[in-house]
Subunit: 386 residues, 2 copies
């Protein structure tokens, strides 16, 4: 087991890293990534494999320069892979995940959230996009899911063609390791729009969570990544993530998705947390004056939020004072809404030990294990490890 210096575990207050029985640590955002998109060709239909061989995958770029160096930490996965993908080294393997994350930290379950195919949602051709998603899902099962019982998966679907998205959900949804679908924040419409409702119906029927993760900001058919057009620098697009998370969350709530599909849950990863607090406050206040416009809503917007939307911890709030940190967790109703997410192996990932101070015992249990167990219907016993 080759651990590099930067990834060495630090026994910090958040998580001890100790061995334990049962479920004590669930990680809701781990990226499995092909080394190069050509790795998908063996899994694709003949015609689209041929298209990819001839003219590549035509993935839309947004033109923003990410962090200097690699988008994956050099001491983590990407150093073993010299290939470039869309200008970045991003390939990684199951064995790296096992050796650098699962075994080191004694992680009990991780949700594989992909990344390589987020861009399919802003490609014009819906059949090509769906074929790439299907290929990536099959690659994920072959190269990752079949190798370890700790791996759960959020499958990739083409959200711009509900019929094809549902076909993929029907194909893979019955597998108990499939727990979610994964969508990028960058989209043509807010996800509460009724265009998408047939997909949400299929997710509810199969008990799949709708996962949302930054991706495609300002790329291809997604259009401008803020409500006021295109910013200039990558650091600005990072601040667009909370904006997009807000737009999607408000849309799910206002457009009645959770009344229509009461079993549906949404997971929003890597968009910070503060916006969720402000959204609950602001939207509750607005709704009291404006509820005649959305008569299908029978509860406060914040109640839908707390009942149906879960927020990943990475990147975790960094307030100026400890008191502000605790107050924000309280205001977020973190014991209901917050789930641990590492974002392994990206440069800004959060390990489970040093990201958090020592949380009160019940809150620790909710954030590190129980909220995710309930979200994904993980029935294994909970552990008292922390």
């Amino acid at each position: 087991m080759a651990i590099r210096v930067g990834a060495r575990p630090i026994l910090a207050p958040g998580w001890s890293g100790k061995e334990h029985a049962g479920i004590a640590l669930v990680d809701c955002d781990v990226h499995q990534t092909v080394e190069k998109l050509d790795d998908l060709i063996p899994y694709m239909s003949r015609v689209y494999a041929q298209q990819a061989r001839e003219q590549g995958f035509r993935m839309a770029g947004s033109g923003y320069f990410n962090v200097a160096g690699d988008i994956s930490r050099r001491d983590l996965a990407s150093t073993d892979c010299d290939a470039k993908f869309d200008g970045h080294k991003v390939g990684n393997t199951y064995e790296q995940l096992r050796d650098q994350h699962l075994d080191v930290w004694n992680v009990d379950r991780v949700l594989l959230t992909g990344a390589s195919t987020y861009g399919t949602s802003v490609l014009p051709d819906p059949d090509f996009a769906a074929d790439m998603c299907r290929a990536f899902n099959d690659w994920t099962f072959d190269q990752w899911v079949e190798k370890d019982d700790r791996l759960l998966v959020a499958i990739s679907v083409n959200v711009n063609d509900p019929r094809l998205a549902i076909a993929e959900i029907e194909r893979l949804g019955p597998d108990p390791r499939v727990k979610a679908i994964m969508l990028p924040t960058g989209s043509r419409m807010p996800y509460g729009n009724r265009f998408y409702h047939p997909i949400w119906e299929a997710c509810e029927r199969h008990g799949l969570v709708v996962g949302i993760h930054p991706g495609n900001e300002g790329a291809g058919m997604a259009g401008p990544p803020t409500g006021v057009g295109y910013p200039t620098y990558y650091i600005e697009t990072r601040m667009a993530r909370p904006q997009m998370a807000m737009a999607h969350a408000v849309s799910f709530i206002a457009e009645g998705v959770f009344e229509k599909f009461p079993g549906l849950k949404v997971l929003i990863d890597e968009c910070d947390q503060f916006w969720a607090v402000g959204l609950m406050w602001h939207m509750d206040a607005d709704w009291k004056s404006l509820r005649d416009q959305t008569p299908w809503l029978r509860r406060l917007p914040s109640e839908y939020f707390r009942g149906h939307i879960r927020i990943g911890t990475q990147p975790m709030l960094e307030p100026e004072t400890n008191d502000q940190f605790w107050m924000m967790l309280e205001a977020l109703h973190a014991d209901e809404t917050l789930v641990y997410s590492s974002d392994w192996p990206h440069w800004d990932w959060d390990d489970p030990a040093s990201t958090f101070p020592k949380l009160p015992e019940r809150l620790h249990q909710r954030v590190f294990a129980d909220n995710a167990r309930e979200l994904f219907g993980i029935e294994d016993a909970v552990s008292d490890g922390r």
Copy 2:
């Protein structure tokens, strides 16, 4: 003085409404609005007056249904005006402002923020747009500013043609009652983009604040009002306001506007406050990793925010608990950043008495008077009234 029931002052903790000497209450968001756009025709150039007479003002609508009834409170200005403007009754007069707000609450200064011409920024023809702005500014002086020394004005400019915007700033900026320019949130680009820098240079030179206020969301050339496209209902567009405020604020900071124009100040009205707190936390954290991309920044993003951006109080945060309210004011650095705004006479306006609990004395003084006095360079003595 005809005060209607709903506007009767309530002696609540926030503001006593008592008479006092000096400056104790500055309101940074009061809307003066033409009864109908035709009222501008006498102030317009011959050719554009003729165009308006022939085919109207062609203002872009966003198609969202606002609150039921009028967008102005029926017990305030709009009841005296039966005209419809863009489907809403919005006209009001100086005399209504005086009788219903200034005299009732003993307000010392108000910033007239307009509204009738926000839509010019999403009109295709820049000369027509600029002519409407000039006409509205002249109407504002004639019908409002000349009548009362308590009135300050944020002039309307066409932000899509910097040359014309600067011409209007040069024309009116020397008047000491002109304290700002006023722009809508809905725009083609984030306002930190260097396209706009010549306008900011002119503002700095004349000591004018750049005011930003909701408007044009999803209308005309502004494009989609969120980073993920068009939401369906008005309540969703209200939640898009904090998103737009974030996008503009981040842009001003990241694109180096406050290094380039160190005297420039920005006022963001009617977009809530929570986003400003999260933005300072999140952007500071990001900047530590990414500052090599914006080498012109020499301080933490939050320091630029605290030094240059001011936030209106309306609509005021409505957290679940009092502790959360006080913590958010602390985290916002409200003693530096927060300025009282009423949004008179709109349906969701906040009077100065019942919006706030009794603030600690120094904080009260900062929010109700001193932050705005410093923002606008109001040199009159401060009062100890509250």
